[in-house]
Symmetry: C2
Subunit: 205 residues, 2 copies
C-alpha cells in the first residue's frame, strides 16, 4: 500500500535542510521545523525517530543536492584549474542570489558548533572534507601533469592549502553581503595556483 503524505518525504527534508542551514542545528527547535515545513509533529516523528536523525538526513541531502552539483566538475576525470573555477563560480552565484546574507556551508557551520559527544554527526562532516580533499588533489595533480613542473609532494601541499583556504571562503560567505570581495578572493586563489603550477589562469566562464 503506497504512502500518500500531504508533504512528501523529500520535500520535508528539503525544507528542514533550509532551516538548519540558515540557523544552525542547536538553535532550530522542533517547533520551528513544524512551522517551517508545514508538517505535523507526529508526522515528523513517524518519519524520523529524533531530531538528530532528521538532521542527519538533511546532511545527506545537502551532499546530494548542493555539494554534488557544485563539485562534480572537479571530480570528473581529467579536471583541472578550469573546473575549480567552475566550482568557485557556483559559490559566487549562490552568494549573489542571497543578497541579504549568505548561509555559508552547512557542513562548516555545523563543524564549528558540534561537540565531541555527537560522534555520528562528526563522522558525516569529516566525510565531506575528505571528499573535497580528494577531488581537489586529483584536479591539481591532473593539471600539473599537463605542465610537468611540480613534484608530487608539492601537489599534496598545494591541495591541502586549497582545501583549507576554501573553508575560509565558505566561512566568509556566511553573513557577507560583499560578493565582489568574495570574487576577488576567488580570482586571487586561481592566480596563485596558476602561478605555482606554471599555467594560465582559466578564463572566466
Amino acid at each position: 500500500m503506497p504512502r500518500a503524505k500531504s508533504t512528501s518525504r523529500t520535500a520535508l527534508v528539503d525544507s528542514a535542510l533550509k532551516t538548519f542551514w540558515k540557523k544552525g542545528f542547536h538553535v532550530v527547535s522542533m517547533g520551528d521545523l513544524v512551522r517551517e515545513t508545514g508538517v505535523n509533529r507526529s508526522s515528523l516523528y513517524s518519519d524520523f525517530p529524533s531530531k538528530d536523525a532528521l538532521f542527519h538526513a538533511c546532511l545527506d541531502r545537502y551532499q546530494e543536492k548542493v555539494v554534488t552539483p557544485a563539485f562534480a566538475p572537479v571530480e570528473r576525470e581529467g579536471a583541472g584549474l578550469a573546473e575549480i573555477r567552475l566550482y568557485l563560480e557556483n559559490l559566487l552565484t549562490r552568494s549573489a542570489a542571497h543578497p541579504g546574507s549568505g548561509d555559508g556551508c552547512l557542513v562548516l557551520n555545523t563543524l564549528a558548533q558540534v561537540t565531541p559527544a555527537e560522534a555520528d554527526t562528526l563522522q558525516r562532516l569529516r566525510a565531506h572534507t575528505t571528499r573535497l580533499q580528494r577531488g581537489i588533489h586529483r584536479a591539481l595533480a591532473s593539471e600539473n601533469q599537463r605542465h610537468q613542473c611540480l613534484p608530487e609532494a608539492e601537489i599534496d601541499a598545494l591541495s591541502r592549502f586549497t582545501l583549507i583556504s576554501l573553508q575560509g571562503l565558505w566561512a566568509q560567505s556566511r553573513g557577507s553581503t560583499d560578493t565582489p570581495a568574495l570574487r576577488q578572493y576567488c580570482e586571487t586563489l586561481l592566480l596563485l595556483l596558476a602561478n605555482r603550477l606554471g599555467c594560465e589562469v582559466p578564463a572566466d566562464g
Copy 2:
C-alpha cells in the same frame, strides 16, 4: 569599599571564556558555567546582568588575552612577512599544545552559529575581522614597499585573500589533531605570498 570575592572577576571571565570557547555559546548553560567557574549563580548574576553580557565580556577578554598577544607583532610598525610567520607559529604552538583536539578561534566559531537577531554580538565579531584585515594589509603593504613589485590594488586583493584563507586555517584547527597538516598549510601560504611579493620566505623562528 573594595570588593573581595572568593573568585576574582577576571578569573571568572577566564574560566567562562574557556568553556564558551570549547563548547560554543548556545550549548553552554548557566548551570555549566556555575559548575566550571566554581562561582555561584547569584554571584554570576550580580556581576553580569545576563548570559549574553557575560559572553560579551568573554569576547572582549579573548581579544585582550588571546588575539592581541598573537597578532601584535603583525600590527607593529614596519611588520612584514616575518611577523605574519610569527603569528602562524603562535597558532601552531596552540594546536600542538592541545593534542586531543583544538578549539579553533572563538570568534569564528561564534560567527558560524550566531543568528542575525544577536546584533550586538555580531558587531564584536565584525570588529575582530576588520582588525585582522587592517593588520594584514599594513604588513603586506610594508613588505611590498621593500621590494616595489606590486601595485596597491594587488596588495588589497592579497591581504583580503590572506584574511579569508586564515579563517579556513582556524576552522580547520578546530577538532584537528593533525598539526603537521596545519604546518604544511602555513608554509604553503608563506610560500605563495613570498612568490607573489617577490621576496624570500622568512626563516622558521
